[in-house]
Assembly symmetry: C2
Homo-oligomer: 163 residues x 2
C-alpha cells in the first residue's frame, strides 16, 4: 500500500464500474431545434432504491479542493444514485472505490475535462466533491428523503491523490 493515487482521464469505459459519465461525446443520438442542437440521449438514469425518497435537483456552491488532495474519507448512499454536473465549467477530481466486504477497496481517481458530469450508482464508495477551481457551482441530482442513506469510512492511512 503506497498511500498515493494518480488520477486518470475520466472516460465512460473506465468509469463504468462506478456509474455514468454525462457528456457530449462522439455523434449525438439525434438532432433537435431544427438541426442547431445535438442531443446525447439517456446518458444516466437517476434512481431511488426505496419508495420513500424522491429524485431532486440541488446546487452545490463549492470552494476548490486543496491540492495535493488527501483522500481520508469515502462515503456511499445505499438508497439512490447521485450525480454531479458542473454549471460553470469547472473540472472535477472524482475518487471512487469498489466495495470490499463493506468498506472501500483500492480507490481510483479520475479527472474530468470541464465538460463532463458523473453519476454514481447507488451504494458506490466515493470521495467528496473536489473541483479544481472555484468557487464554482454544481448541479446535484440525488435522492432526498428519510432513512439511512449515508455510510462513511475513514482510512487509517490516507491517500495522496496526484493529478
Amino acid at each position: 500500500m503506497t498511500g498515493t493515487l494518480t488520477a486518470e482521464p475520466l472516460t465512460r469505459e473506465a468509469f463504468a464500474p462506478f456509474g455514468d459519465v454525462i457528456e457530449a461525446q462522439g455523434e449525438p443520438s439525434f438532432m433537435i431545434n431544427g438541426g442547431r442542437c445535438g442531443r446525447y440521449d439517456d446518458l444516466a438514469r437517476p434512481r431511488t432504491v426505496d419508495e420513500d425518497g424522491h429524485v431532486s435537483l440541488s446546487v452545490a456552491q463549492s470552494d476548490p479542493a486543496v491540492f495535493p488532495m488527501t483522500l481520508d474519507l469515502m462515503e456511499r448512499h445505499p438508497l439512490g444514485s447521485q450525480a454531479f454536473v458542473p454549471i460553470e465549467g469547472a473540472r472535477l477530481l472524482v475518487t471512487v472505490a469498489p466495495d470490499a466486504g463493506g468498506k472501500p477497496g483500492e480507490p481510483r481517481a479520475f479527472l474530468s475535462n470541464g465538460k463532463q458530469g458523473i453519476q454514481y450508482k447507488p451504494n458506490t464508495w466515493h470521495g467528496v466533491l473536489a473541483p479544481l477551481s472555484g468557487p464554482s457551482a454544481f448541479l446535484i441530482v440525488d435522492r432526498i428523503g428519510g432513512g439511512g442513506n449515508l455510510e462513511e469510512y475513514i482510512f487509517q492511512t490516507p491517500y495522496t491523490v496526484l493529478t
Copy 2:
C-alpha cells in the same frame, strides 16, 4: 399585439408560474464537505405524469441562437417536467407562455446569468433552447418513454425577442 418581447432577468419569483430556477442564491440550505461547500437543497423535482416514462439525464450540444431571436414556435410536454442546466456557464434566453385554451397566451422572456438552470413544469409552453453563446453543452433532465409527450404551436405572427 406588438410582435416584440423584451427579456427580463431570470428570478425564482418571476419564473414561478412556469417552473423552477436552479441556482445557488442567498444562503445555502446547509453546509457539506467539512464546511467547504454549501448545498442549496431540493430546488426542483423532476417528475413524470404517467407510469410509462422515466426521468433521465441527457446532454444537448447547441449552437448559439441567432439574435435578435425570432419566437415563431412554442412546445410543451404533457407527460413530464423538463430541466436545462448549463454545463459550461452559458447564458440562456428562456421563453415561456401561460396556456390560453390549448395554445400559448402572451409569451414572456427571461435571461439567465450563466449560473442558473431552469425546470419547466409539465405541460408548460416554452420556446426552444436558446444559448447566447456557444457551441455550449447543457444538461437536460426530462422524461424519456413512449406516448405523446410533445405538442407544438406555430405563431401566425412571430415575436422578436429583445435582450
